[in-house]
Amino acid sequence: MNRAPSDRLDATFAALADPTRRAILARLTSGQASVTELAEPFAMSQPAISKHLKVLELAGLISRGSDAQRRPRRLEAKPLAQANAWLEGYRQFWETSFQRLDTLLHDLKAQELHARGLKTEEMKTRRKKHVRAKRDHR
């Protein structure tokens, strides 16, 4: 199957959109597994799991091992890496910007504290003056 990169990416993201399929992929990161083994942790029939596996297979995210009897599924790293890379570029723009925002917010908080401190000082000075004025008046 020879598809354009964007078609492939559509298929990858569609496949990743489902929590069961993400859980299956997570399970496969620790090694290949048969359909029965993959169905175990889910309250789902084997045919239902097989449907999910088919979607993952069409997206190129998993493949079948050579053992003819067990037909174990295993993870295919490349499409997942591609999908991650696309997301990574977008994330990078925001990550860099948000790091600057951290610094800015830190400064804004410091400025607020400083301003509040000055206000307290001002109040203290005023109160002192007021007390002194009262005393001098007597």
């Binding site: 990161t29 890379a85 696309w86 994330r91 610094t103 804004l108 908080k109």
Partner: protein, 161 residues
């Protein structure tokens, strides 16, 4: 507990991109930083070397905003949009259109700010007109020159799988 500083990027539906980030500041300050031009220009800059010579914000429903960035090689990128909803300091909904539109139609961005124990979780969700457009956006960001991180990530993903 959520850490500050970790950016989470997800695709909640096939037409959306969502960014979630926690900041160590009350949301009123984060809201200011998102809506006051003199503050926005200090951080919304992307990769090092870029500046934001134009940042105009008319913060009212129906009011517009205008952003222009300039890269180290003099290349410019601009965008504009209209505010659809403003609820200080918790929610902003705005449309987004680029000057040189490389995708059809306009996108709608929704920023939601949630404060807990003096920290603010900012979730920005951008809704595109189609999945094809959403995926193009993800692609274009990559082309803007993050080849190094691309390589690093690919290595990382391949070594963990």
């Amino acid at each position: 507990m959520k850490n500050t500083g970790t950016l989470k990027l997800t695709t909640p539906t096939d037409r959306e991109i969502a960014l979630t980030r926690v900041f160590a500041a009350p949301r009123r300050l984060v809201f200011d930083a998102l809506t006051k031009p003199e503050l926005v220009k200090q951080w919304l800059l992307g990769p090092p070397g870029w500046s934001m010579p134009v940042c105009e914000i008319n913060l009212r429903v129906g009011g517009g905003y205008r952003y222009l960035w300039r890269g180290p090689d003099g290349k410019e990128m601009g965008m504009r949009g209209v505010y659809r909803e403003i609820v200080p300091p918790e929610r902003i909904v705005q449309t987004e259109v680029f000057d040189d539109p490389w995708y059809p139609g306009e996108a709608v961005g929704t920023a939601v700010l949630v404060e807990q124990n003096g920290r603010t979780t900012l979730t920005t969700t951008i809704l595109y007109e189609s999945q094809a457009i959403r995926d193009m956006v993800l692609n274009s960001r990559m082309e803007q020159g993050v080849a190094a991180s691309y390589d690093r990530l690919e290595e990382l993903v391949e070594s963990t799988l």
